[in-house]
């Protein structure tokens, strides 16, 4: 700090020290999971920034829900009641189907599926980097969030947790170029891997043979292979298929079902660890 350090080659030594320290940190961050604790505590200091940044959207959300005319609320209430009724009817069918499924599974000696608990979370921030698709949610280590935890919205699979801080955590969306998810076609079980390509409303299927039975509009669900995501959550629908004779594989463009740029409320599958254990049996 004192001015005797302001001249001479001391800056060079300091820079060298900073670079060495950074490289050690990066190597440790890649290698050792203990560095997550360091990140959590540093993240604690950053939390006020994230909270302040989310204030405008919170205000608009609050005013959206507080400053609406009574008629609109009544109408919304009405439509929600109808929706609830429809869902209730579906649940009734579900009970029968579940029982039947259980009997059939007993017949073929398959292990029973574990019920899935969920934790609701809310989006509080977007990643500031224009080239990645990550969001920040308001649940962290203290709520039992763990790295790799699947994140859903009402429509489908949204992504997975990649960083956990004390009070917040970071979700890598399925559409990010660094994200891949094993899927299968709901209609016939054809397996593939859906990889993000950087655009928010499109992903690609990797290594799909030209002869694979995939048609436009097919629903892709998670296949549970790779033990990252539990089986059976909708991921995307097939939007375009190109067969290029010069390429080894067909080019299949799919559209994520989750509303990646709109959903504010997300669900974390909490006991997916147990669930994945059950799949492995």
């Amino acid at each position: 700090m004192s001015s005797i350090f302001s001249q001479g080659p001391v800056h060079g030594y300091r820079l060298a020290l900073a670079v060495l320290l950074s490289i050690a940190l990066m190597a440790g961050d890649i290698r050792y999971s203990q560095f997550n604790y360091l990140r959590q505590y540093l993240g604690f200091a950053i939390t006020p920034v994230i909270l302040i940044v989310s204030i405008p959207s919170r205000i608009s959300e609050w005013s959206d829900s507080t400053l609406v005319p009574r008629e609109q609320l009544l109408r919304e209430n009405e439509s929600l009641k109808i929706q609830l009724l429809v869902l209730h009817r579906k649940t009734q069918e579900l009970a029968v189907i579940q029982a039947e499924n259980k009997r059939l599974r007993e017949l073929v000696n398959a292990s029973e599926r574990v019920g899935k608990d969920i934790l609701a979370a809310q989006l509080i921030g977007l990643d500031s980097d224009a080239f990645t698709h990550q969001v920040i949610i308001n649940k962290g280590k203290d709520d039992g969030v763990f790295i790799g935890q699947p994140v859903l919205d009402a429509k489908g699979l949204m992504g997975q947790i990649v960083k956990v801080d004390k009070l917040t955590s970071r979700v890598l969306l399925v559409a990010d170029a660094n994200h891949a998810v094993p899927v299968q076609v709901n209609r016939n079980g054809v397996r593939a891997i859906a990889v993000g390509n950087g655009s928010l409303d499109a992903m690609e299927l990797m290594f799909v043979p030209d002869t694979a039975d995939i048609i436009l509009g097919d629903l892709l669900v998670t296949s549970g292979l790779g033990n990252k995501f539990p089986e059976g959550y909708p991921v995307a629908t097939v939007e375009a298929i190109e067969h290029d004779p010069g390429e080894h594989f067909a080019k299949v463009i799919v559209k994520p079902l989750a509303e990646l740029n709109r959903s504010r409320h997300v669900l974390l599958v909490t006991n997916s660890k147990d669930f994945l254990g059950a799949v492995n049996e």
């Binding site: 700090m1 004192s2 001015s3 350090f5 302001s6 800056h11 060079g12 300091r14 820079l15 900073a18 670079v19 320290l21 950074s22 490289i23 050690a24 940190l25 990066m26 440790g28 961050d29 890649i30 560095f35 360091l38 990140r39 540093l42 993240g43 200091a45 950053i46 920034v49 994230i50 302040i52 940044v53 959207s57 921030g125 977007l126 990643d127 500031s128 980097d129 224009a130 080239f131 990550q134 990649v162 960083k163 970071r170 170029a177 660094n178 950087g198």
Partner: protein
């Protein structure tokens, strides 16, 4: 140590300016503007190293870069290297740089921020997939363009707190 410190504590204004820079960095923007978001934190590091070279240097810049890594969810230390590099460059040339008028300084800002972006992009490319093309350099242009404003604002802050 205190006899070298001619002014009052620099901690508050420096902390304030970084706090605001972090908020601006994390603030959601429309997609089009997001690509051109100036590197606010690097600009503030640039300013304080330029005008308080005896009290602000590589160590603080390193720590600020580390916090930026936490904010962006990068590998810890990735941007810390880069911000301390920025501080180093500015420390080496600060005596000349201070004599330039602000528009001339912004040319140096363009180069330094460009170097910073190129380094971060390259390092991120080692560990994951990054964008192709040169769009990632756009913030260098916007940072240079807004340097004059940032410098005047920070100068006002510095004078308000009488830090020198």
């Amino acid at each position: 140590m205190s006899k070298y410190h001619t002014g009052p504590s620099a901690i508050l204004p420096v902390f304030l300016s970084f706090f605001v820079a972090f908020i601006l960095t994390a603030m959601p923007l429309p997609d089009m503007l997001m690509f051109a978001r100036p590197e606010w934190v690097v600009l503030v590091v640039f300013y304080w190293t330029l005008y308080l070279p005896t009290r602000f240097g590589i160590s603080v810049a390193w720590f600020v870069g580390l916090m930026l890594d936490v904010l962006d969810g990068n590998l810890l230390g990735l941007q810390a290297i880069s911000t301390s590099g920025v501080a180093y460059i500015v420390l080496v040339i600060h005596q000349r740089l201070k004599l330039y008028p602000l528009p001339h300084q912004s040319i140096v800002v363009f180069l330094v921020v460009g170097l910073h972006l190129a380094f971060v992009h390259w390092a991120q490319g080692l560990t994951g997939i990054v964008s192709s093309g040169y769009a990632y350099l756009t913030p260098a242009i916007s940072s240079a363009a807004i340097w004059t404003v940032v410098a005047v604002l920070l100068l006002t802050l510095q004078r308000a707190f009488r830090v020198n």
